[in-house]
């Protein structure tokens, strides 16, 4: 009975989606939806629901069948104009979106290793740490503190490098992480499956433990206390003033330098993520990407096809690692602080769960996965906790059972059940949607020159391959279900 109703509802939603996705309707609908979301967030900057409406407009912009140019314009307006305004008005949103971008880039990198090449990496966050510590070390006073007791710095110690070398270190961070990936990969990539997972898990821990303990004999990492302060690139004051003229009235308060830094790192993360998406897409659709998929599907057959296994696996490791490296540099600068705590095993698992939740091997999927996990973490669960603690402080009583909210144990705080909730979500996903929220779809090809008619209406084929959205390609999902 229940199931029947559900089916009915999903059918109707499907029908609604199809109707909205025809002709001019998607153009109007997505623009209006985005506008409503913006207005809602603008009017009530603290409402979670408003934020969800705002951020979900991305899904419509992405998945509707519209002219690519229109999509890009809409996305650019949203990301470059609306998000900064809304985000500076309530700086927490900017933080959420920044975190989504950082973890989306991490998830995209891990997706290359796990999703494309099928190498289970449980220590992925180590590469993130390498990137972060690269800038943390050179972008702070640390090189002058090598012989000091951890945690003490003589007053007036200068910074090692000028702050704007940050831009250079974005590339150095990429190189350092990629090199680490190759160094780790060379001995271990001969291992398969579970063995590789265990070794990478160990490697992740080794990096964290190194960061924790390399305060002696030379104080490289400042140990468990972490390195701080780390420099940020300087922002030109005249430019900030010029922006303030426009931005101040829109956000309703004077935009501080801190706000500008948040904005800067948000934009930097945006640029990085665009590059990362481009790189991932182009590699996936090339000789290298096909070799990765082949290795994932069947190593023995792949090597018999002339694919050099170790070289290709190293390429996957290095690529994935470099994405993490660049985000590490960004992370270190944006926080002005790094410590080994940020690179725990749970972080690796967190990124992995984003990949699995979103759709292993699917680029839009893992971005959505990152967004869902971060929003769940930072907003929904904490929102619940806040609500519960408010109830606890009030005198409210649950009527019939006569239970006073203030007697509620603090152990029932939802934020404390974060991991359990993740566990449950992952289990449910594996049962009901094992290929993830947006399953990966294979590109379809045809020879345009002859016999177009044989293969079928080319519209359909192109539509399914290019957008890869959940609505238009049910076939690939079915296939995935069958596989597992």
């Amino acid at each position: 009975m229940n199931k029947g109703m559900q089916l009915h509802l999903s059918d109707r939603l499907q029908a609604l989606y199809t109707r909205l996705n025809q002709g001019k309707a998607p153009y109007i609908f997505s623009a209006i939806y985005l506008a409503i979301g913006t207005i809602l967030v603008y009017i009530s900057p603290r409402s979670l629901l408003a934020f969800l409406v705002f951020i979900s407009s991305a899904i419509f912009i992405y998945s509707f069948r519209m002219d690519a140019r229109y999509k890009i314009i809409l996305a650019a307006i949203a990301l470059l104009i609306l998000v900064p305004i809304v985000g500076v008005r309530n700086i927490f949103y900017l933080e959420v979106i920044f975190q989504i971008s950082v973890f989306a880039a991490l998830a995209l990198g891990l997706n290359i290793v796990v999703g494309f090449a099928g190498l289970l990496d449980l220590g992925y966050v180590a590469f993130y740490a390498v990137g972060a510590y690269t800038w943390a070390f050179f972008g702070s006073q640390q090189p002058f503190l090598l012989h000091e007791i951890p945690g003490t710095a003589p007053p007036g110690t200068p910074f090692f490098l000028p702050p704007n070398t940050f831009y250079l270190f974005i590339f150095i961070g990429v190189a350092a992480a990629a090199l680490t990936g190759i160094l780790l990969g060379t001995p271990v990539l001969r291992l398969r499956g579970d063995y590789l997972a265990i070794v990478t898990l160990g490697f992740g821990e080794v990096i964290r433990v190194l960061a924790n303990n390399l305060d002696k004999p030379l104080n490289l990492t400042n140990g468990p206390q972490g390195i701080t302060p780390i420099q940020r690139p300087t922002l030109p004051e005249p430019l900030l003033d010029a922006i303030r003229v426009v931005l101040n009235p829109l956000v309703g308060h004077n935009v501080s330098e801190g706000d500008f830094y948040n904005l800067f790192f948000y934009l930097a993360a945006l640029v990085v993520i665009l590059v990362v998406i481009l790189v991932a897409r182009r590699l996936d659709d090339s000789k290298i990407g096909r070799a990765w998929t082949a290795i994932r599907e069947d190593e023995t057959a792949a090597i018999a096809m002339g694919i050099p296994l170790v070289k290709m696996k190293l390429a996957a490791f290095a690529c994935g690692a470099s994405f993490a490296g660049v985000m590490g540099v960004l992370f270190a600068a944006s926080r002005t602080f790094v410590s080994p705590e940020s690179f725990s095993f749970m972080q690796s698992i967190g990124v992995l769960s984003m990949v699995i939740l979103g759709g292993i091997g699917s680029i839009p999927g893992v971005i959505v996965g990152a967004a869902v996990v971060i929003i769940l973490n930072l907003q929904i669960l904490q929102g619940f906790s806040l609500y519960l603690s408010q109830l606890r402080q009030s005198d409210a009583v649950i009527p019939i059972i006569n239970f006073a909210w203030k007697d509620l144990s603090t152990q029932l705080d939802p934020a404390k059940y974060q991991r359990m909730l993740f566990g449950i979500i992952l289990i449910l996903m594996m049962i009901y949607r094992p290929a993830g929220l947006i399953p990966a779809a294979r590109r379809k090809r045809e020879l345009v020159k002859e016999e177009v008619g044989v293969i079928g209406p080319d519209d359909q084929i192109n539509g399914a391959s290019e957008s890869g959205n959940p609505g238009s390609d049910p076939g690939s999902e079915e296939v995935r279900h069958g596989a597992r």
Binding site: S286, A301, G306, A315, R442, L447
Partner: protein, 271 residues
């Protein structure tokens, strides 16, 4: 001219000698079969040729190159391609993609070409697709190019495997029980395809096969293995009358009865 020559190739697993002292010569342009009872070491011999196993002793010369110690992918690049006894396609990839993966050693694009989408990249990709379509129509897969390989029926999967192996432009094609599990009609079509591979594409073919119908029909020479060693070699007629071969397949009793029958025939002939 000998395309493949092995001398004294020996492969052991622990104390078990899977292939022992194999001396084997394969002339260019031939279709040759290796037969033998289950466990005779045929597939192990294949795996030694293709570099999956490294022989403990012996030498393998392929097209002027020594293969011992080379990795599988290097051997494939030299022009040796194979199919597997139990089909090993890349199930989650489309048929076209499977075939293009087979071209891996022949594509020159690097990471930079892929990232910057250079002219070379587009040209090569386009060429690869054209070639994939050619191969698909050659083996008879034209309509299923965009299907995922795992969704195809068994007979077509075998064809995809052959097309994928052909994609690397091999000089030598190793087919490991290519007609296993096929019905007589499919088998005939497959045999026809093998002939066309050799006649039209000039590919030398070495196959492991259990179906005597196929072996006797297609092979120009046959090598028989038993307990890891070569026990006979020759034309199909010679092999089918060789008492050692019959013994290996059917046991000593059957071989003796064959001998008796032969001597009776001889008697009848003289008398």
């Amino acid at each position: 001219m000998a395309l493949v020559e092995t001398r004294n190739v020996t492969k052991r697993f622990g104390g078990l000698q899977a292939v022992g002292h194999m001396d084997f010569v394969l002339e260019q342009g031939r279709i040759v079969s290796i037969i033998g009872p289950n466990g005779a070491g045929k597939t192990t011999f294949f795996n030694t040729l293709t570099g999956i196993y490294r022989p403990e002793e012996g030498e393998i010369i392929f097209d002027g190159h020594s293969l011992v110690g080379k990795r599988s992918d290097q051997i494939t690049s030299l022009g040796m391609a194979r199919t597997f006894q139990n089909i090993r396609l890349f199930g989650a990839m489309t048929v076209i993609e499977n075939i293009i993966v087979g071209m891996h050693p022949r594509l020159n694009q690097g990471m930079v070409d892929a990232l910057l989408r250079t002219k070379k990249f587009f040209k090569e990709e386009e060429h690869a697709h054209e070639r994939a379509f050619e191969l698909m129509s050659f083996v008879g897969l034209k309509e299923v190019g965009n299907e995922l390989a795992r969704n195809l029926p068994y007979g077509l999967q075998r064809r995809v495997e052959i097309a994928r192996a052909l994609a690397s432009d091999p000089k030598l094609l190793l087919l490991d029980e290519p007609t296993a599990g096929m019905n007589p009609k499919e088998t005939d079509a497959a045999v026809g395809l093998f002939r066309r591979l050799r006649d039209e594409l000039g590919v030398t073919i070495l196959l492991i096969e259990h179906s005597m119908r196929v072996v006797m029909d297609i092979s120009e020479r046959i090598t028989v293995m038993d307990y890891g060693e070569k026990i006979a070699e020759g034309l199909p007629v010679e092999i089918s009358n060789n008492p050692r071969v019959v013994e290996a397949y059917l046991g000593r009793g059957a071989a003796e009865s064959l001998e008796q029958q032969e001597s009776r025939n001889e008697l009848a002939g003289t008398g």
